[in-house]
Symmetry: C2
Subunit: 211 residues, 2 copies
DNA sequence: GACTGATGTAGAACGTGTTACAAGTCTAGA
DNA sequence: TCTAGACTTGTAACACGTTCTACATCAGTC
């Protein structure tokens, strides 16, 4: 039912016309309201419920303004995902991850995040689908999400909030784990895996990669 | 610009109202024409160019008929992908994969397929995006694609066209390789990786998993 | 205080996926 | 052959992402 733009657009500037930190206080406030509305609607009804008119109305901005801030529905949802993930990264910087081995720590971090997402299936569906559908014009936001994820995994791998050097090999392993995690998440969102399958598949991947 | 349904629909029957092999000769012929038109349009203009009205026109069926055969654009594209992959599996069954080690054979198979896809970037974009965006209602077609992929990798791993027993561990490794491959393909489609990155990332994953 | 350019608002308009409907056509079985 | 039912067709209508237009507001400058 819902439509989704797939054409690159807004090619003359950075993807979010209003980046997270720039602009006046009123603008940052509008941006926050828009993302809040997005999360609320997505949590209630998933991807399809995030309708641009509904977001605009709930955030109390005009439709044109919404599009000025986020040039497409996909940008909007991926930006929302990036904001959520960034919160998580900040939290993970505060204290060491529990667990005696890299395997345990990585599983701890990923399972915690997985379970948090699974508590809000509609929201997760909306965010993950948007992430996967994103095209070239969303590169910036996608990259932000990817960075958050690898940072958190790298911290868990080393067991310290401060991030030391990461070797080539470790970086490769982390990327693969991210891929498996995202893949599992999609499978879960689309009903092809249940909660246990997700944890299991990540566990196997981590075990195979860290041996 | 393009719209994509994300609601489950056609919930009272199997996803493709007309499965690949059933129906009259005329129906199989119509199905073939529809998928051919889909591939042609996708190869020319990617996901956005696969417009349902255009597919119907080129396949010389009515729009309603198109929807009777494929209940949504996503079903249509994923079915097209499944058909292409199935062809590949059939081919891989004919002769042994070249290469002295499992690593070499897997890389041979995946690289060959990757390069084939990269020769038709628009087509690949359309098929991969549809695959990733697919929701619950497309489970059947998705599963078909997944099976093709794992079969081909399993054959390459063993080096024989006939498929012997696959251990739990091997199955897990194959799934992870599939995940990495699909992930890399998406990154390539969306311009976040180039050809070499794709091959490299798969090579690293296979090396780490088979050591 | 008036001007100007950027920003925001309200709402219409457009394109494409999807659905609905009325009428024609084909097929199996009596 | 005739008929019931399934299948096709052609076309209109609808929903929602996206774009466009005309006007209002606001911040900074003279």
């Amino acid at each position: 039912m819902t439509s989704v733009s797939t054409e690159p657009r807004n090619t003359d500037g950075p993807s979010p016309a209003t980046p997270p930190t720039g602009g006046s206080a009123a603008q940052r406030e509008r941006r926050r309201r828009i993302l809040d509305a997005t999360i609320t609607l997505a949590a209630e009804g998933g991807f399809d419920a995030v309708q641009m008119r509904a977001v605009a109305e709930q955030a109390e901005v005009a439709l044109g303004t919404l599009y000025r801030y986020f040039p497409s529905k996909i940008h909007l949802l991926v930006s929302a995902l990036a904001r959520e993930f960034t919160k998580d990264v900040d939290r993970s910087a505060v204290r060491a991850t529990p667990g005696d081995t890299a395997h345990e720590r990585i599983m701890y971090v990923l399972n915690r995040r997985t379970r948090a997402l699974q508590k809000q299936p509609k929201l997760t569906e909306a965010l993950v689908r948007a992430f996967m559908f994103a095209d070239q014009s969303v590169t910036g936001e996608i990259h932000e999400v990817g960075t958050s994820l690898t940072t958190v995994i790298a911290r868990a791998m080393h067991g310290t909030p401060t991030l030391g050097e990461v070797t080539e090999e470790e970086a490769a392993i982390i990327r693969i784990i991210s891929d498996v995690w995202l893949s599992a998440l999609i499978s879960w969102v689309t009903g092809r895996m249940d909660e246990q399958d997700v944890e299991k598949s990540i566990d196997v991947a981590v075990r195979l990669l860290l041996r």
